[in-house]
């Protein structure tokens, strides 16, 4: 419609105008955008002072009541009877066994899920195939399943009365109510963490760089190690941090399959539960405080990774997919 009107009547002046406008436009429009950080808008765009004060007090009060208070309670209860008893609860053999088992489980399940995350994200973001959306939904599925159900399915599969129960018994193998069952349940609940973090990231990055590397003669492994890996390292780290926190802290699923054998199949969270149910409150909170410290370390690492990667991509990946819920929203326990 507008096309015939413009070109015949002097393309040159309009071009000149364009350039002038652009040169002028940049400095003019720049200050119109508020600087980064909390926008300081004119008065009519702000709530009345009393509303702001009220909102601020209400939100911070709510967070203090529901987040800070329980966190503080863990440490206060743990140290109620002094440092000596605190340390005693931690070096007691059953506690040490629980810590060892938890570390072992994280050491098995995090690398496996890391491998899956990279493989799944690679297949999903770099190739076109039918049923991709179904695959993404299935990878997400463990987040929506109750941890108790996650434990139950392994009991149904490997328990004495389960599908493979007779076979396992005949061969003197034990999966449920033993360490392998705990590992399997942990694998299930931490399954999506790395994948869900990498899929939106790799989708946003596309595959031009990998294609360029191949054109330049890189082998598949070289391309992955020198192009893909550096690109996704922050997302990968983020996923691993969350996966690890969940693997070490999982309670519901593990509680169903572990059988609660002290010193053998008890993870740290299960040890906390046992002590608590035996009314050994102080010891229970002492062991729990180790997990609370782990949570705090997780939060700090997570924030550091977030700031680092925000500096790198400037929030590009996030804004390109307004519909995807970031992974940490789906982290469940």
């Amino acid at each position: 419609m507008s096309a015939p009107a413009r070109p015949p009547e002097g393309g040159a002046p309009s071009l000149g105008e364009d350039v002038a406008q652009r040169q002028e436009g940049t400095p003019v429009s720049a200050p119109a955008r508020p600087p980064e950080g909390p926008p300081r808008a004119a008065n009519h765009l702000n709530e009345p002072a009393w509303v702001r004060a009220l909102l601020l007090a209400a939100s911070l009060g709510f967070l203090a009541l529901f987040l800070l208070l329980p966190l503080a309670a863990v440490f206060v209860e743990a140290l109620k009877k002094g440092w000596e008893l605190y340390a005693e609860a931690l070096v007691e053999p059953d506690a040490l066994a629980a810590i060892r088992l938890t570390l072992l489980i994280a050491a098995i399940s995090v690398p496996l899920n890391l491998l899956l995350g990279v493989a799944a994200a690679w297949a999903i973001t770099k190739f076109q195939f039918r049923g991709k959306q179904v695959l993404v939904t299935l990878i997400d599925l463990p987040f929506s399943v109750s941890p108790v159900v996650a434990g139950l399915i392994y009991v149904l599969l490997f328990g004495t009365h389960g599908w493979l129960g007779p076979f396992l018994q005949a061969n003197d193998l034990k999966i449920v109510y033993a360490v392998p069952g705990v590992v399997l349940a942990t694998l299930f609940v931490t399954f999506p963490f790395v994948a869900r973090e990498l899929i939106p990231l790799m989708q946003a990055q596309g595959s031009e760089e990998e294609q360029a590397a191949l054109t330049l003669g890189a082998s598949g492994w070289q391309m992955f190690r020198r192009v893909t890996l550096p690109n996704i390292k922050w997302g990968l780290l983020y996923g691993v941090i969350l996966c690890n926190a969940r693997a070490m802290g999982e309670f519901g699923a593990v509680s169903v399959v572990s059988g609660h054998v002290r010193g053998l199949t008890n993870t740290i969270p299960l040890h906390v539960e046992i002590l608590y149910n035996e009314y050994a409150y102080q010891a229970s909170f002492a062991v729990a405080s180790v997990l609370a410290l782990l949570a705090l370390v997780t939060l700090i690492l997570k924030s550091v990774v977030e700031w680092r990667s925000a500096k790198l991509v400037d929030g590009q990946a996030a804004s390109e997919f307004p519909g995807t819920v970031p992974l940490h929203l789906k982290a469940a326990g």
Binding site: L55, V145, E250, I268, A288, P322, P326, G333
Partner: protein, 295 residues
């Protein structure tokens, strides 16, 4: 755009071998896809299918009886009721927190922002015993609430408190980015047209953040329905009163009623599917909205 379409017409699908077209030039499709499907089947799909097969060992009547027994129905009421209440509280509180974090400036803001994720990072068992210690009659909160006649620990109220804790980050983290992206020009326009601050919020901002708000609500609700660790300590676990559905599954399992446990778990799994569908629809709505704004 136009060059791509011309290229497409010049390049009919025939001459290109189908493999190359589908798999592109990058290597590793077979390996990564094969591993993903294998691992997914082994860890998730095959184990989950046991729920169906185990439930199928029951006749329809027995299945129905198992999932609608009075004690089971009472657990649904508590689980869904408490999850709904907690998600509603989180809807309001989460919006307020997201608003404060995006729009206001205060010392220690980064720390508060990081702390919002605490419920994701803190193992649920730890949250459970901490909340119980706080709200028990001799706890910091309990000793203060009890004289007022409010009992929290070992009652359904305790379940709601635990679920509020667990669900808090969902609403904050879904609403926060949308609020950050919201264009202030729209508020400017509303204000210049004479809208009060409240009118601007209700008629301009609220519609913008509504999909995110509902997504956060649905995520918090879905999470709360399946929650176990933080709830069992504070709930008191009295049958018919303060027994949540996941606990009932464990009880059935301990009584060697595998089929009964599988039947209830299947009901919860189906519900999880429905919620997943709702959440996907909400996200689709939000994505469409984001697209509309962009154009």
């Amino acid at each position: 755009m136009s060059s791509i379409t011309t290229l497409g017409t010049l390049n009919p699908p025939r001459p290109r071998p189908r493999r190359a077209h589908r798999f592109g030039v990058l290597p590793g499709f077979g390996l990564s896809m094969g591993f993903t499907v294998f691992y997914l089947s082994l860890i998730v799909l095959i184990p989950l299918s046991t729920l169906l097969f185990k439930s199928a060992t029951l006749s329809w009547d027995a299945f129905w009886a198992a999932v609608t027994a009075p004690r089971v129905l009472a657990s649904y009421r508590l689980t869904f009721g408490a999850a709904l209440l907690a998600a509603l509280v989180n809807l309001v509180a989460g919006l307020a927190v997201a608003w404060t974090l995006v729009r206001y400036d205060f010392p220690g803001k980064k720390v508060v922002d990081a702390l919002v994720d605490l419920p994701f990072a803190l193992p649920t068992a730890v949250a459970g015993i901490a909340l119980t210690a706080l709200y028990a009659s001799n706890g910091w909160m309990g000793s203060w609430l009890e004289p007022l006649g409010i009992k929290v620990a070992y009652t359904p109220v305790g379940v709601v408190v635990a679920l509020i804790f667990i669900g808090l980050p969902f609403v904050v983290r879904t609403v926060q980015p949308v609020l950050e992206d919201a264009e202030r020009e729209l508020e400017e326009a509303a204000a210049s047209l004479g809208a009060s601050r409240l009118q601007t919020f209700v008629r301009v901002l609220l519609p913008t953040i509504m999909p995110a708000l509902l997504t956060g609500f649905a995520l918090a609700f879905a999470r709360a329905v399946g929650e176990y660790g933080s709830v069992v300590f504070i709930a008191g676990n009295m049958p018919m009163v303060s027994e949540i559905t996941p606990l009932l599954i464990i009880t059935k399992l301990e009584q060697y009623d595998y089929a009964g446990a599988a039947a209830i778990a299947l009901v919860m799994l189906l519900l999880a599917f429905v919620l997943l569908l709702v959440i996907n629809l909400l996200q689709w709505w939000q994505a469409r909205r984001g697209l509309g704004r962009g154009l």
